[in-house]
């Protein structure tokens, strides 16, 4: 996969600093899986994070803290191997990327329970708890009204392509938009465009599609 459009460096840096809400983090992770260029930048951002940490004024640490830690070294090493591995397992997280997106380049999106939200546009919301991530399926040739963004919006193409003022976006490409950008995407004609969209949580998302469709008379349920 040869990507032409990457997340902004500021977005990668935000991911490295754990400042991206879950929906943005998931989308960026889906891109990074397949983008060595951005993985290198992420590592650089993390390396700089470690350098900056080492340049902080050291804080005063209480004397008890070290003793407490060394006491815990003893305790934990007394656990038998079975118990220890149980502890480790309990600490492991569920994967950042949800199952539906784990293998997105090969994933069959036809079986997704799509909901029609406007002519030529279907949506499937991915449940991430507090933040919003949606799949959009846009019929070939569908033209969206020009729109701006109140906050941040990240879009990644999974299938097909679309074009706007910025360029032509293909699978793996990320459009990293902020409040200064207006654009008018048009799904290319050959096949439906499926994309992953993350917007600022939680309120702005609900208005995203209506805002997108501003001036058109459709009802959204």
């Amino acid at each position: 996969m040869k990507m032409q459009y990457h997340p902004d460096d500021a977005t990668l840096l935000g991911f490295a600093n754990a400042t991206l809400e879950r929906n943005f983090a998931v989308l960026v992770a889906c891109h990074l899986r397949h983008c060595p260029r951005c993985r290198q930048r992420l590592r650089q951002a993390e390396q700089l994070g470690a350098e900056l940490m080492q340049r902080l004024q050291p804080a005063e640490v209480s004397a008890d803290c070290k003793q407490a830690l060394f006491d815990r070294l003893d305790e934990s090493t007394k656990l038998d191997p079975a118990e220890r591995s149980a502890t480790v397992t309990a600490q492991q997280h569920e994967p950042l990327i949800p199952a539906l997106l784990q293998h997105w380049p090969e994933q069959d999106f036809d079986t997704v329970p799509w909901k029609r939200i406007a002519p030529g546009i279907q949506q499937h919301k991915i449940d991430l708890g507090s933040s919003n991530l949606s799949l959009l399926r846009i019929a070939p040739g569908t033209c969206m009204p020009s729109h701006g963004h109140e906050g941040s919006e990240l879009t990644m193409i999974l299938r097909g392509s679309y074009s706007d003022e910025i360029g032509r976006f293909q699978p793996g490409d990320v459009a990293d938009l902020d409040d200064e950008i207006e654009h008018q995407p048009i799904a290319d004609r050959d096949e439906p465009c499926i994309c992953l969209v993350a917007t600022d949580a939680p309120l702005r998302f609900n208005s995203w599609v209506p805002r997108l469709m501003q001036g058109l008379v459709f009802s959204f349920d």
């Binding site: 460096d9 935000g14 754990a18 650089q44 390396q47 700089l48 080492q54 340049r55 902080l56 200064e180």
Partner: protein, 195 residues
């Protein structure tokens, strides 16, 4: 002086090879080495955690969790894939994220280790990561324009999102991102051959 340089220590610490220390901790369960590592990193980790918003007691608890994990997983550290300080920094960042999520204060996941340390990275790419010119980085940090230093400070040390930075500096989101981008570009040039 800018927001970052006022926080910096004077001069440069003599660089100890923490990768070797981690290797000895892994191989020999060497408590003396671990003690040295604690003495260096505990005050820095506490400082980092406090700047991210942790109270002093929580910061000490989390730095213990961090270093306990370093002790138990030292064998997983691979010096070829990155440097020891970066590895420890990631553990601390992730512990703080876990704490915030557990307390339902925020849900801002850090990158998974596989994204940070891919096996498939070409060797040349990996080597770049360890080549950091510390003096050049110090100079670059000190010469950053105030606004760039401020957004870096808020992102790295305070863990603020772009939107939160925009709000607290009263500038548009797009300016936050372009300012961060510029600052990152300058700092990246301190990493050998990073372009």
């Amino acid at each position: 002086m800018n927001e970052i340089s006022s926080k910096l220590m004077d001069g440069i610490e003599t660089q100890q090879d923490w990768s070797k220390v981690l290797d000895r901790i892994a191989a020999e369960r060497d408590r003396q080495q671990f003690s040295a590592l604690y003495d260096h990193f505990a005050p820095l980790l506490k400082s980092y955690l406090i700047s991210r918003g942790a109270g002093a007691a929580i910061a000490e608890e989390l730095l213990q969790e961090t270093l306990l994990q370093v002790w138990h997983r030292a064998h997983q550290f691979n010096a070829q894939r990155g440097n020891a300080a970066t590895w420890i920094y990631r553990v601390a960042r992730n512990k703080y994220y876990d704490y915030l999520r557990h307390q339902r204060l925020a849900d801002r996941p850090p990158p998974e280790p596989e994204l940070s340390e891919p096996d498939s990275a070409p060797k040349a790419e990996r080597e770049l990561e360890s080549e950091l010119d510390g003096q050049l980085l110090n100079n670059t940090l000190q010469q950053l324009p105030s606004r760039q230093a401020q957004v870096l400070y808020m992102s790295y040390y305070q863990g603020k999102s772009h939107a939160e930075i925009a709000q607290s500096m009263e500038i548009p989101l797009g300016s936050v991102k372009s300012t961060l981008r510029l600052a990152f570009e300058k700092l990246r040039s301190c990493l050998g051959g990073a372009r």
